[in-house]
């Protein structure tokens, strides 16, 4: 869908807004990024991404190999092979499919491959559900992948482009997640750059051909304990640099495209009685709620974009001195509570003037979270001055 005229302009460049769903935005970004090998297996609610890319390759709009693999395991295996060969590799999946890739997610990060994966969050079976929560991607948090969370089609588009650049600079694979349905299927305006602008930000073919008969090497063979230990230490050191890389690249992104992103976005947090910390689409709903209820209560919002590496320092800076933060999780680690809540508590540990942290869980299975629910949540939390030690369950 195209707008017949530019809706807004930015400096010397005309911007073009198009109506796209989150899935279409992801696919378009992959096209702009000039991905070279795409291996994807269809799974609801990701299918539109696979279809759009297959179409783009078929028409020649995207010069790439589209591999119609027979499972998600093979999708990631093929991406690993292609990335080793030096090509820019991409896949997309969801829930059960991501779970099927689990072994290979470890492989990709261990092999330091700059693969980009878009995950459309969907609740894990059993039982079958086409609902939404973030358990699928969050339960991969230990696999060594950088993880970004998006709440709108625009964020998805921009995060995919950022992801390719970030992956190739850090040699760590990047997972970009968006909620199924609430982001993947929502049609909305997305600002689209020109190919020239994208090429300026993301030069093509930055992959390193490691499998080269002229310089034969063996990769991934058995190692002694000390070697593995030192590799892991190096990976952690490199992960710790990712936050700075992300900030630097986001700045560059803003210079080229005019949109800026931070690992942790704060909205109206100063002097607040309560901060709602969330990720993905819930952040947008909270923002709308806060915008409509300005001045009535002192409530702020923190939207987490970067989850791995967990932006500990930035979060501590944003939350220090605030009274209370309610982490609203659309996830649950059974027996361990909301997943972002665990990470937030751990990141704040030992911080002077740290806020009280309340763990809120809601929206599992795609249960709707409306401004009305946010209103009810805020009222309940402000009324009760003591932070519940367990999970505060949202309506649903």
């Amino acid at each position: 869908m195209t707008a017949p005229k530019a809706v807004s302009s930015r400096g010397a460049w005309e911007t073009m807004k198009r109506l796209l769903t989150g899935n279409e935005a992801a696919a378009l970004a992959v096209q702009f990024a000039r991905a070279q090998v795409i291996a994807a297996y269809p799974i609801t609610p990701q299918t539109r991404i696979a279809e759009k890319l297959a179409e783009a390759v078929a028409t020649g709009e995207l010069r790439a190999r589209y591999m119609k693999v027979e499972s998600e395991t093979s999708a990631m295996a093929a991406c690993i092979g292609a990335s080793m060969a030096g090509a820019r590799a991409f896949t997309a999946t969801s829930s059960q499919g991501l779970a099927l890739m689990h072994e290979l997610l470890h492989w990709a990060s261990g092999a330091r491959l700059p693969i980009v994966l878009v995950n459309v969050n969907r609740s894990m079976a059993a039982p079958w559900s086409l609902g939404v929560d973030q358990n699928d991607s969050l339960s991969q948090r230990d696999t060594g992948w950088i993880q970004l969370y998006c709440g709108s089609g625009q964020e998805v588009f921009d995060s995919v482009l950022l992801a390719f650049r970030l992956a190739e600079e850090t040699l760590l694979p990047v997972m970009v997640s968006m909620e199924g349905f609430f982001v993947s299927h929502y049609l909305e305006p997305v600002e689209i750059p020109t190919q020239e602008e994208v090429d300026r930000f993301l030069p093509c073919c930055r992959g390193r051909p490691r499998l080269d008969p002229k310089r034969p090497c063996t990769f991934g063979g058995g190692v002694q304990s000390q070697v593995l230990y030192s590799l892991r230490k190096r990976m952690e050191a490199d992960m710790e640099e990712v936050g700075a890389s992300f900030t630097r690249l986001a700045l560059r992104y803003a210079q080229v495209f005019g949109r800026s992103y931070r690992a942790v976005e704060a909205f109206q947090t100063e002097g607040s009685d309560l901060v709602l910390l969330c990720s993905g689409s819930i952040a947008g709903t909270v923002k709308a709620f806060l915008t409509e209820n300005q001045g009535k209560r002192r409530v702020g919002l923190v939207q987490m974009r970067l989850f791995r590496p967990f932006p500990r320092e930035e979060l501590r800076r944003v939350l220090q001195g605030l009274r209370r933060v309610a982490v609203v999780d659309r996830s649950l680690s059974p027996g361990g509570g909301g997943i972002f809540a665990q990470e937030v508590k751990s990141a704040l540990f030992g911080l002077k003037e740290a806020p009280m942290v309340v763990s809120v869980v809601g929206g599992l299975g795609g249960v709707d979270i409306t401004p009305g629910h946010i209103d009810g949540l805020v009222k309940a939390l402000l009324k009760n001055q003591h932070a519940p030690t367990g999970i505060f369950w949202m309506e649903g």
Binding site: M1, P4, Y186, S281, D368, T370, G372
Partner: protein
């Protein structure tokens, strides 16, 4: 023939308009929502369009939603209190879920020639009618047992609501309808001309 005080909306809490389009699986409610969203978008509005959750099956009730606002919509949740409901199939009036939550003094546009006695016409809504099935038959869109009415209904909506222009709707139809473009455009124009008031809400 505007139904809502569009200017008045600017001063009230939510500035947004929320529209629900309901039909049966296969009637193109989702495409209708995209056409409507696209039409608003062409006029510089910010839009959001999304289908209802769940598996779609030919014949089963299906809803698609549109939000429109002058500025960015960051809200992301189901529409519980639509301002407008567009029903592609008049029989859906029998289904209480179709009109649940509609705003008081909200508007209802139905694919029907008249307010047939046997059905549950809501008393608190502004009602608009257009015989989109008849238009579809004349233009050979779909088959008589399953007429394609989605484009006509959007045309009727444009006139009934006064919120979006006929031109924008026609533009959107040209962009999005995969086949029989001219016939669909004709349906839009015909419905735009034929839509009429059903009744005003009871006081």
């Amino acid at each position: 023939m505007g139904c809502l005080d569009v200017e008045g909306l600017a001063s009230e809490g939510w500035q947004m308009i929320e529209i629900k389009i309901s039909g049966r699986g296969g009637q193109g409610a989702v495409l209708a929502s995209h056409i409507l969203a696209s039409a608003f978008f062409k006029e510089g509005m910010w839009v959001q369009a999304f289908p209802s959750f769940g598996a779609e099956r030919r014949g089963a009730p299906v809803s698609a939603f549109v939000r429109v606002n002058r500025k960015e919509i960051t809200l992301r949740c189901n529409i519980e209190h639509p301002d407008w409901v567009i029903l592609l199939d008049v029989q859906l009036l029998q289904n209480p879920a179709m009109l649940s939550g509609v705003k008081t003094n909200g508007c209802l546009l139905v694919n029907a020639p008249e307010m047939l006695e046997a059905l549950n016409w809501p008393k608190s809504l502004n009602i608009f009618l257009v015989d989109a099935s008849a238009i579809s038959e004349i233009l050979f869109l779909g088959i008589s047992s399953f007429p394609v009415v989605n484009t006509a209904m959007i045309g009727a909506f444009a006139k009934a609501s006064g919120l979006v222009s006929l031109e924008s709707v026609l533009d959107a139809v040209r962009d999005l309808v995969p086949s029989k473009k001219e016939r669909n455009e004709a349906a839009v124009i015909e419905a735009f001309q034929r839509v009429k008031r059903g009744n005003l809400p009871n006081q």
